[in-house]
């Protein structure tokens, strides 16, 4: 059994067998989202809690849809609405939630290591939805799935990652996994957003056109506009002038290059509009794959510890519909 982890905290120490298994499982979940009835009963009765200490509509919604398509009950908290504003520590908040016996806790937090901190102290499975600048494993998994769909093999691919690599958890997770799978990595950005130790990860360059030359995949990272005041670059305009992915830069890559972006895009800043909307962009496929990946992760992690006894012979008809807006399959029959 290739995947026996209790938590998904990052991809740094995930083996290539585990990665393949995760991607294969995610692949098999894709068709559920193409059906008329986008639901399977697999996680019926499981409770999944999302704790989003950093604002995140995209990732949160993706996890929520994934959980609901698996028939799990999904509850989400965001920092502003939770007891955090009343001064409760992360540990206390999590312990209180754990006492309500969730099957999985999804955590996004500004501090690197926060999911590790909780995983060591709670009984439920912990899924890292982004911790500080450290990792964002489900994002990298969906990126890998998207790459694999088009390129079949990841070993030997040249992947250029462009932007604020220093502060990017998406970059780190991708780098860790791609290295495990044998891809060649190029990191591109201004020197203030790179680090000399990155040479252990791959080729490092401050020249965009050089960095994307003959690349199979170009992964653009979001530039956080707040970094402007902190002297990482003087202005967004100047940053764009040197690092915005334009059609002329794309022309240097391989003719079948894939352009990726974790979103949300800053049009005209890190990526030109026509490139984002152009034929090489797979940005929307990434989003679709995100649901499948998160369904797979939930499937693989929420089957543990909290074993609830299911009485034998229980039929589907006895299921309560978990959400008001998603009607249980029995009640939705296509007429005629």
């Amino acid at each position: 059994m290739p995947f026996t982890r209790r938590h998904l905290l990052g991809l740094e120490d995930v083996s290539s067998e585990e990665l393949s298994y995760l991607l294969d499982t995610a692949q098999s979940f894709k068709e559920i989202s193409e059906r008329e009835i986008k639901k399977v009963p697999t996680l019926r009765g499981k409770t999944v809690v999302g704790m989003f200490y950093e604002a995140s509509t995209r990732t949160r919604t993706s996890f929520e849809i994934a959980a609901k398509r698996m028939s799990a009950d999904f509850v989400s908290l965001s920092a502003s609405t939770s007891s955090v504003t009343k001064g409760e520590t992360l540990l206390d908040t999590a312990r209180n939630l754990d006492a309500m016996r969730p099957d999985a806790l999804i955590l996004r937090h500004a501090s690197s290591g926060a999911p590790h901190f909780l995983a060591a102290r709670l009984d439920c499975a912990v899924i890292n939805a982004g911790d500080g600048a450290h990792e964002h494993p489900t994002q990298a998994l969906l990126d890998l799935l998207t790459m694999r769909e088009r390129k079949q093999k990841l070993a030997g691919l040249t992947v250029a990652i462009v932007g604020d690599v220093l502060h990017s958890r998406v970059a780190r997770s991708n780098v860790f996994a791609l290295k495990t799978l044998g891809a060649n990595i190029r990191l591109v950005g201004p020197p203030t957003l790179l680090a000399p130790e990155m040479r252990a990860w791959g080729d490092v360059t401050t020249d965009l056109h050089e960095g994307v030359r003959d690349a199979d995949v170009i992964m653009m990272l979001r530039i956080q506009l707040e970094r402007q005041g902190k002297n990482f670059f003087p202005t967004v305009d100047e940053y764009s002038r040197y690092f915005c992915l334009t059609e002329s830069a794309v022309a240097r890559a391989k003719s079948d290059v894939m352009i990726m972006h974790p979103g949300p895009i800053n049009r005209g800043v890190e990526i030109a509009s026509d490139v984002a909307d152009g034929p090489y962009s797979v940005i929307l496929d990434q989003v679709t794959n995100g649901i499948a990946v998160r369904m797979a992760v939930l499937y693989l992690l929420t089957n543990q510890a909290r074993t609830q006894t299911h009485s034998e012979g229980e039929t589907q008809a006895e299921l309560a519909a978990p959400e008001v807006e998603v009607v249980a399959p029995r009640l939705r029959r296509k007429v005629g």
């Binding site: 059994m1 068709e31 008329e36 009963p41 697999t42 089957n303």
Partner: protein, 182 residues
């Protein structure tokens, strides 16, 4: 062959049974109109392929066919610590108004077929669902019955039945294994 094993169907028997089943399906449905085959992973898929081939030979019609993975619909997931591997379902045709022929290798408790029916309903509303199995070994725990049976095989619960097919196992045969005496 170990001492506690015996072959209950050899390659020839399997072939004859499948040929007969193919004819029965065509007879009861009065031809191929509206028929579609869905094999349940994993040996059901191989058997469905063979049926499809036979029906093509008899009627010169290629039936639409699909593959079903019932893992996500199982009723015993919480009980096992392990995660059964999910290989995926592919049903590349519309299920609505079709006469679906579900195909599996062994019918035992009936729970697999129950899961398959639930999965099928999530794809649409078939006209009817019929069940082909190579072996019916009894001991139903749910009110499920097969419409077409290759061979009825009385067994005791402690025995296990394995269908081997050339596509996956290199030969065609059905083997019963008696549990070791304690």
């Amino acid at each position: 062959m170990a001492a506690n094993q015996r072959v209950v169907m050899d390659a020839q028997a399997v072939e004859r049974a499948l040929t007969r089943v193919a004819h029965e399906v065509l007879e009861r449905n009065k031809g191929t109109h509206g028929l579609a085959l869905i094999g349940i992973r994993s040996r059901g898929v191989d058997i469905a392929k063979r049926l499809r081939q036979k029906i093509r030979e008899i009627e010169s019609v290629e039936l639409p066919s699909g593959i079903m993975d019932i893992t996500l619909y199982r009723d015993d997931l919480s009980r096992s610590r392990q995660h059964p591997e999910v290989k995926g379902t592919q049903i590349p045709f519309a299920v609505d108004d079709k006469r679906i022929i579900l195909v599996d290798d062994v019918l035992f408790t009936g729970r697999t077929i129950r899961a398959a029916l639930d999965a099928l309903m999530d794809f649409g509303r078939p006209l009817n669902v019929q069940l082909v199995v190579l072996i019916d070994r009894g001991h139903r725990e749910l009110p499920i019955r097969a419409d077409y049976v290759g061979k009825n095989l009385p067994t005791s619960v402690s025995e296990s039945v394995h269908v081997r097919l050339t596509e996956s196992d290199g030969c065609d045969e059905v083997v019963i294994t008696r549990a070791e005496e304690r």
